[in-house]
Each structure stands twice: as C-alpha cells, then as structure tokens.
Amino acid sequence: MSRRNFLTAAAFAVAAIGLGGAARAADVVKLPCVCELSGAGAVSGTNYRDGAHIAVDEINAAGGILGKKIEMTDYDTQTDPMTSRALIQKVIDDGAYVIIGTVYSGSTAVNMLVAQKAGVPQFTGAEAPDITAKGNPYIFRTSSGAEKGVPALTAYFKDTVKAKKIAISWVNNDFGKGGHDVFLSEMKKAGIQVVADVPSEQGQVDFSADVSKIKQAGADAVFVYLNEEESARILKEAVKQGLKIPMVGEVTLTGQKVIDLAGGAAEGALAHVGLATSAPVPSIQAFAANFKKIYKRDTDHNGIKGYIAVWATKYVTEMIGKFDRKAFADKMHGLTLDVAKYPHMLLTTSWDKTGELSRESFMTEVKGGKQVITGTVPAN
C-alpha cells in the first residue's frame, strides 16, 4: 500500500460520497410511490404505481387535496428489502405526507418499521398476515391479507369441489408462507387432508417436478399460492402433464398478467380475488377501461390498489381538514368509506384497528382468455 494508492482512494471516496440533495419548498403535498419497479416484483409494483398516478392526475385536475397539488415521485426498490428501507427513509427525509407502497410483503415488513418510527402513514399492497399483526398504527392495507382471503376459499373446496384430499403449491417466501400457514390450518378445520405440500422458489422456472408430485398424490384439487409469473408457469406445466383437477388460487392465479403469460393454459383456473378488474361493478370496469386507454395494457388488481390508496388519502385528509399524519392514522382505524359517498373507492371499504382491510370480494374463473366473476363473497 503506497501513499499514492491511499491518496487515490481518498480522493475517490470523498468524490463518491459528496452527493447531497437540495430540498425544494413548494405548495404541494408529497405522496411518494415506493414500489417494486424492477426485479421479481416488477409486475405488481408497476401496476400499483400506474394506478396511483391515475388517481394523482384525477385529484390534481380537480384541485388537489385541501387546495394543495399532489406531488408523486416514483422510487424503485428493485424488490430488495434493504433498498426499500433506505428509500422509505429517503421519502420521510423529503417530507412525505403519506407513503404509497411497497407491494411485496418482504419489503413492507422491513420498511414499515421506519415509517412507524417517523409516524408516517403508509398504504401497502402486501398481503402477508404478519404485516397487520405487529401493532403498527401507521400501516394500512389496500387489499385483504391472506388470513382473510384464504378462508373465503374453504367453503368452495368443501362444498363446491367436495374435496377430500388437496394439494398446495406455494412460493417459499414470506408472502407464500403466510398463505400456506393459513391454508393448512383452514384445511385442518374443514377436515380436508393435505396430501401434497409443495414449496417452490421465487422466480422458479421449471415446475415439472412440482406438478408430477401433485399428480401422484391423487389430490381432488390444488391450491396455487404463487406470484404472477410462477402461476403462469405452473398452469402451463399442468396442461403439459395432463393434470385434470381444479387449480384454485388466491388473487393472482386468474390475474390479467397470468392470463397473458399462460395463454390457453389459464383456461378454467379459479381464484378468490379481493379486487378483480373484471368485477361486475361499473366503477371498477370504468377504471379498468381508463387504465387501458392511458397505458395501452390491462392492469391486474394491483392497479386498483394503488388507485384507491391515493383516493383514500384525499378523502381521509379532507375529513380531518388538515395535513396531520397522526390524526390521519387515527381516523383510518375503524373507518368505513362508503362507495355511495366516496365513489373513487370503487367498493365500500373498511379498515379495522390493525390496518387490516375488509370489503366485498369475488370468486373468479378464466373463461375465453378473460377473468370472469362467478360469485360474490360478502365483506368479512
């Protein structure tokens, strides 16, 4: 180690870290969107962000929130929990009023601690049960957690399919594990035997072993709890291996992205969906059509989640009549936004004291390359 090397290093280090940010004061309210715009969560995160931006444009065109225009800046977490934590820190430093995101549970579990500490309300798209089980008063869901969604399927397996033996294919991350654990306890309660319990990796490409395991187990139906791309892969593999039993999912399995990726293989797939873009509700269909007009592609439920997060921020802020984060969080607990009075919520939505969300949900099926609603599950 010579002096020269040391000098070089020192000069570089100082240059590399001398990156400060200049704050800019304006009469705006900051709703930063911290989302998965690259990496494994890019599909969900991008839809979430685009939905949120539609709401921002609508609200700004109508005069903003309490007369202030919304400023929404996008931040890409790369689907990395540590980066997401840094970014939540950054947006709080920059004066975020309410944070929109993140969508993936693994990231949310980390970064919500930061928002909680700073007392900044946060609308997450995450569905893992533990998110609302930690007593964080600043976290709010934009769709029901797995502990609410999965039980809605129990009746379907028990009464419609009349399943005695069932298989589960799940992604082994905290999102998948959350759904998996709830599912196992639900099946135990319902007296249905789980004959194949098949975990897979996030980003797994080959599902042939998974499908043959399920096939050999002789299950009457299979519960698929995977992210979008993996869902499409297992559907294709099931067709390839001639797996004839019903494939039933929670939220993702009949999503637009899965249908696009799996093509004909998605036909007949079933899912319980908290928020479906094909729901027989005029406001939701109008939103989906508007989304397609703006972005030239279909959205999945994540687009709606981002959209209602921003609108809920406007409604609740105007209810309390000031930009007060603590009052905002307090107001949200136990709040119901009736769609008759708050049309942009698209469906009547309630939050309980943990930030868990409840609203009407749907049973869906893929028919003719489209997600079709086959039944409605009341709010629970």
Partner: protein
C-alpha cells in the same frame, strides 16, 4: 518509507475527519446509505483478503455476513449486549471459515467457486427452513441497536458514529494483518504457491487462515447489518449478495487495500446517485461492464494510471526546465 508514513497518517486523519462531519446536516436516508457503505466495505475487505491477497475465490461472503447477522440478532434479542454478541458471531465465522477452508486446500479456481457457492446455498436453506431458530421466511425483526454503557446508538447519527468507529478499528486491524508476515505470506501464496512452499511457508496453514480471517470480517459486517436494518431474512444473505460483494472487490481493484472501499461506494452509492434517471439500472450496469472491459484493474487502476501520468509529465516538465 518513513518519510511517507506521516503523510499517510495525515491523509487518514483528514479522511476520518471528512467521514465524521459528512453526515451532519444530512437526512437519515443519506446516513443510512453511509452506514450501509461502511458495512459492505468491511465485508468486501474481508473477501479481498481471501481473494485479492491469497488468491482463493469465495462466493460465500454473504453467508458469513448471515452467520454474523443471525448470531448477533438472536443473542441481542435475548438480551445480550451487542459488544458481547458480535464477537461471538465473528468468532463463529472464523471457525466456519476455517472449516470451509479445508476444501480450498484441495480444489482451485472454478471448483472452489462451486464449493463456496454450495455453502452459501446451504446456509440460505438452513436460515429459511429452521424456523425455530431463524424465524424462517419471516426473518427476525425489531433487532435492538447497540447500547454501550449510558450511550445508546439508537438514533441514526449515533448509529453512524458507532459503525464508523467499528469500521475504523476493523480496517486498522486488517491493515496490520496485511503488513504482517502473514500478509506477505498471503501474497506469496497468490503469486506462486510452489515457490512459497519451497521457501518454508506452511501453505496449508496460510490458506486456512486467509479463509478464516476473510470470513470473520464478513461476520463483523453482518453484526453491523442486523442492528442497522433491524430486520434480517434469508434473502439478504443469498448467493446474489455474495456476487454483489465480489463485484465490489473486483470493481474497486482486486488485491488493493483500499479497493473494496471504493467498490462498495460504487455499488451502494452510485445506483442511488443515478436514481433520477429512468434507466438508472441500465446506466449503472453499462458503466460496470465498460469499467471491467477497459480497465480490469478497477477504479484503483484508473486512479493509479492517472497519477502515474501526472508524475511522468511533471518529471518531463522538470527535466525540460533544467537546461
């Protein structure tokens, strides 16, 4: 040499002073990034010892960070102070690194890369599936920040100074190791193993030591990561993270003492600095590719070439001016 030492000390002092005042007035995001940079610097410097000095590749540095992080997290969650928990983690990494060093005695190059890669995967699977110990996929959260006597490092700035102090001590220790007979033995091992052995060097012991010490530094980085993020989960220590640490070492300049610090700055801070642009990840990736193609000796190589040219032109100017 002796005339140079005071200057090096002055530069070190100036750098330390810059690092001391740098976070003042900045938000906690910037401070968090600095902590993250220091943490990765320690991990990368450890890997640099194994790879850059001793010439033994390891794709398992993230798993050592994991061992350090999980040990620290579990112990501090059970009420241990950080000062007691972290050394246990570091020691554990030293021992595991020693064990992992054994295959390094038999295999080289790509094969060694695979052995260490397998180890990293093994660690990941254990961390994810042994729920009772590691919390599985849910990970461990609410990890307390260190408290030393009456001083608590709970705040961002306090934690930064804590990290800076630990990093400075770690770098000082490494500086000592590299300049010791061991350090020279590591280099001898890299340059020519047979010759090193013929000179009476116990290559077996030196190889194992290179692995163990490098791993221990990974463990120390992990012991900082746990209280920094206050949440750990298996994915933070997967193979991809090992590659990230490897990238830091290579980008900075393999086998150069300060290279990893620059490499870590580049990998941790550059994507953040480029964040304003839409295609920032592409820009970043292209930069790394261009650097590796045009200047395989890394950032330190660029700096050295520049300084060498400067010295040359100065010398030329001096000789011209003479007559």
């Amino acid at each position: 040499m002796s005339s140079r030492r005071p200057l090096a000390l002055i530069v070190a002092a100036v750098l330390l002073a810059v690092l001391l005042i740098l976070p003042v007035g900045h938000g906690s995001y910037f401070i968090y990034l600095l902590c993250s940079w220091l943490m990765f610097t320690i991990a990368a410097m450890g890997l640099n010892l194994t790879l850059g000095y001793a010439g033994r590749i390891s794709l398992a540095q993230a798993s050592f960070m994991g061992v350090g992080a999980y040990t620290t997290a579990i112990l501090t969650l059970h009420g241990w102070p950080w000062l007691a928990a972290a050394p246990v983690g570091v020691l554990l990494c030293f021992v595991v690194g020693l064990l992992l060093g054994f295959p390094a005695l038999r295999v080289r190059g790509h094969f060694l890369a695979f052995v260490t890669l397998a180890f990293n995967t093994l660690f990941f699977l254990v961390a994810r599936n042994e729920d009772w110990l590691t919390g599985g996929s849910y990970g461990l959260s609410d990890i307390p920040r260190p408290r030393i006597g009456p001083i608590s490092a709970d705040g961002q700035l306090a934690f930064y100074y804590f990290t800076l102090a630990v990093s400075a001590l770690a770098i000082l220790a490494l500086w000592g190791i590299v300049r010791s007979p061991w350090g020279r033995a590591f280099k001898a091992l890299r340059e020519n193993e047979v010759r090193a052995e013929s000179l009476g060097l116990d290559t077996r012991r030196i190889t194992l030591l290179a692995f163990a010490i490098g791993s221990a530094f990974g463990g120390l980085a992990g012991a900082i990561e746990a209280p920094l993020v206050q949440y750990i989960e298996p994915n933070s220590f997967a193979v991809g993270e090992s590659l990230k640490v490897l990238l830091m070492v290579v980008v900075g300049g393999l086998g150069d003492f300060w290279g990893p610090a620059l490499g870590a700055a580049m990998v941790v801070l550059l994507p953040e600095a480029l964040r304003g642009t839409r295609y920032y990840l592409i820009v970043y990736a292209l930069f790394v590719i261009a650097l590796m193609v045009l200047k395989p000796t890394g950032l330190m190589g660029i700096g050295k070439t520049f300084l060498a040219r400067l010295a040359k032109s100065r010398a030329a100017a001096a000789t011209e001016a003479k007559p």
